[in-house]
Point group: C2
Chain length 637, copies 2
Amino acid sequence: MAYQYLTNTPLEKAVEEYLSVLENLGMKYKTQQISVSEACGKITSKAVYAKICAPHYNACAMDGIALKASYTFGATETTPVTIQKELFAYVDTGDPLPKEFDSVVMIEDVSQGDDGSVVLHSCAVPWQHIRQIGEDICAGDMILPSFTQVTPAAMGAMLAGGVMSLSVVKPPVVGIIPTGDEIIPPSENPKEGEIIEFNSTIFSGILNTWGAKAKTYPIVLDKKELIINAVQKAVNECDVVILNAGSSAGTEDFSRLAVENVGKVLYHGIAIKPGKPAILGYADSVPILGVPGYPVSGIIVLEQILKPVIERLCKQNLDNNNVVNATVGRRMTSSLKYREFVRTRVGINEKGEYTAVPLSRGAGVVTSFVKADGIIDVPQDCEGYEAGQIVRVNLLRSEKELRNTMSIIGSHDPLIDEITDILKINYNNCFVASSHTGSMGGIMAVKRGEAHLGGVHLLDEQSGEYNVSYIKKYFPNGEVVLVRGVKRIQGIMVQKSNPQKIKGIEDIAQNNLSYVNRQKGSGTRILFDYLCSQKNIDKSKIYGYEREEFTHTGVAAQIAAKTAHAGLGIYSASKTYDLDFIPVCNEEYDFLISKQALDNENVQKFLQVLSGDDLKKRLEKLGGYNTDFAGEIKEEF
Amino acid sequence: MAYQYLTNTPLEKAVEEYLSVLENLGMKYKTQQISVSEACGKITSKAVYAKICAPHYNACAMDGIALKASYTFGATETTPVTIQKELFAYVDTGDPLPKEFDSVVMIEDVSQGDDGSVVLHSCAVPWQHIRQIGEDICAGDMILPSFTQVTPAAMGAMLAGGVMSLSVVKPPVVGIIPTGDEIIPPSENPKEGEIIEFNSTIFSGILNTWGAKAKTYPIVLDKKELIINAVQKAVNECDVVILNAGSSAGTEDFSRLAVENVGKVLYHGIAIKPGKPAILGYADSVPILGVPGYPVSGIIVLEQILKPVIERLCKQNLDNNNVVNATVGRRMTSSLKYREFVRTRVGINEKGEYTAVPLSRGAGVVTSFVKADGIIDVPQDCEGYEAGQIVRVNLLRSEKELRNTMSIIGSHDPLIDEITDILKINYNNCFVASSHTGSMGGIMAVKRGEAHLGGVHLLDEQSGEYNVSYIKKYFPNGEVVLVRGVKRIQGIMVQKSNPQKIKGIEDIAQNNLSYVNRQKGSGTRILFDYLCSQKNIDKSKIYGYEREEFTHTGVAAQIAAKTAHAGLGIYSASKTYDLDFIPVCNEEYDFLISKQALDNENVQKFLQVLSGDDLKKRLEKLGGYNTDFAGEIKEEF
């Protein structure tokens, strides 16, 4: 039953053919008649012509008198003209100009004569002070051509032109069919083996943004007949169908079979990564897209394959086209088999150039898309890039937001998120991008100019001092300052009630205990190594020493799930997961800042927050922090 | 009863004080709890933390067997290890890793042994092929900080983190109260003196775009008590109130009185144009904004004064900040009394620089906002600009759209709108900006490089030939081509059934008839002058000779409304308005194109459409056109 991927078709070719096949089969946008008041942002499907003129009558544009201009000819300061009362009419602004008249004189220029007559000291020009018929729009004029987005002003122009309703492109309905035996609707308490179905929510959001309408069907179990029935139903009810997951070639991947049963498969297997198991199918003129289950793969397939289809159905160019050149911060390799789409952080350096730091490539990591500022587009014929090379990045955020984004890279501590939140609450134009790469990663990121701030807590084994000796070593020319962050309690996190009766580091290497470590370069791992060497512990005896987590909470989560017995980490993580905690030391978590970045407005705001009461209160709640000197300069280099 | 404007307060000062007063009174965003699936595009009002880890269990990432990695230590190609059946379990991708195991071996690497045992030829690393707990998100991690826009990926991350609902900023409700005795709801058949109320629709559209919710109240008559009641009701029901029209100082302008009755007025009269009669009022912490009646004034007041208020209530930076420098194409004066906002066309020239051609400044002309590509911001202390000076323009369209916009300036003919429509139907990335400035205006616009194409029909009185001699005169160095457009019938448009029994030009100067002319520089006016001189008619005897319309339909509209007896124009306009028509001549309407613009992709598309069948059919319907040679090159210069 297991299929091979039939193709590794280049993306461009596959999409072009797909569109061509679909359009030949009659795939076309639909239209609907809607009232002008509902039309904001919609796309006209026909040209809109004015039905009446605006103004639709000659309207007096001043308070005064209306008359025939010819009566006033010859009037001057010295030769005033008297107009008898039957030859003029008093008018207010907006009044229709009486048919027999062709001019308005402002009330300020009118002297009252006897018997209701008036005296004028200057002559009027025909059609003066009159808003003439059609000054704004004439009946029959085209207000909007076809396939044009309706703006608020255009809504006004249509109503002014007597247009009450118009024909617009109807949002295409896109059916989303989630499949999978292990999949459950969103839940706060999933059981082991149950996977929360959130792709349909992501896809709906994306489709919404594109002006399409998502229709999510109930989850379908991995049974061939059920999937076929679901696809058939969706094809009957929708303009496009997304069949989610099961597009691979595994034993329970029925997507292809289902599409072939209901319609046809044009391609299965596209030369992109992530997203390669995509299925490009159709039934009559309804596209059926088999989308891989990993959320990141799914988003890429929607973006690269579905978007051009939706563009045809929405008659709108959805490409934001926000593609820029950026200098890539680290080496990245790429397969010649695929065109690759790599999520990346994007910054703007002092020279105004874009810089890109690629994020995790795990297709299952949806948070990487939340953090991504852009997508690096690596062509199929490219083997990758060396650090410093120029890459093409499709930006996901505005240049303005990127310019106002402060980059914090280094050791993980929840306090960074708390500071980010306080900054967002107090300043409306301050964005924070934080990455947990460990203390050494922070130092290197500041050195490379990728980070405004680096969070560090590195113990010098010789001096017992934190951070200073490392900074001296890596910044021999200075140009950085070290700002005091917090003191925080590091300790051994163990399972609730400490069933293994762990008392200290020395117990971890014994008794068949399972340890969970932090990644290389993290201050916590360096601390653990130091503690081991102090106690003469053979690290190779520690089961799980090679098992790496990137955050304190990551370590705590493993212990809470009882997949590990112990791990080193900060008190607050232990508290969050309700673990037992054996304090080991009080360490100094500081911030490394280049002197140049110190001038940055957002960095200044960061320092204010760091020394402020809001943060103190939050850290008290988290537990295990001392903020007495937070924000003070520890040392300049 | 008439008020003076109390102030001519600078905009920045007024807005700053207004916001400060409102915030001191407690104006603040509201929040609401919504489900994650509804959250796309919303702004978080609190940080969102993950409730569970994602994955929430250690999941097998491959089909194969789960076991303890330590059992495999030492296994190599030459020293395979046999694992007894009770020491491993078969697993599929996504299955929970059994608690007793810590590693997965791919099924491809497993050899079946006897008695259900398996044989491995390489050792496993602990935690290999396992999606570990929290790989994506750890419980307790911050998924989104406060005041952050929710993206589709973030929705997925929240659901993955067990978050079902979140607190977001609630869209503020903005009450819109239209007032005025002469105002009626949108209608296809307004009577004379009735003005269609479309401002509330424009305002609703704008508010929608900003993420606010508009609530439009029924039209209120110009009666003080009624307006006061309406404002009071809206203040009770809404977060912001817009009182539309009546903000001036006329006898029936009750806005200020009403605001003072319900609350307070901070400023009445702001130093901006258009928009100066704005009222900045409030009742408790509810802003009440008196907005002038002319739509363009209203839009500017919303943009400049209301937007910062909505930004506070939506907790979002609404400023697109798309401000560029542009070279202004013609002289523009500005008062030192006001900061002025001038709608403008914007182009991008060959050097990639922005160019601006200001549009009509009439505050009542809503179509000028439909046509505008940007707003020139003229500071209060600036008396204006000479042609060629640099101005600041806030762009209303994307750079991409502007780059793909073809500018057609010159003589009016409905065929340009029809070509625009055909282009929009056939090409999704082709935009047309057309202006009716008359044939001479078209020549000058091409000469200045403001237009890609100029529509011209200029009769040479000596030769009787069209256009060629004019082009020779204004382009002595050539570098342009003249492309044949259409032949069209010009004639005298007269009222239906010709009640004045007009037979020709000579009748117009007689019998007290009222004529309506075209603007100076238009080919039709030049033709009329030529016809008059041929017949030796004294133009000063023609009543209405000075009355100018800018389009053929404008002239026809006046005759149809019986405010004029005759006007020169093309047959199609006459037909649209069901007028009688006395043919005068068959003229040649051509397109002038610079040789440089000929390379432009959109200009090429234009020429294809010009010679195509679609246009022929449309012009047959309009009537009075001959398209036999349309699109052919008439002469190169």
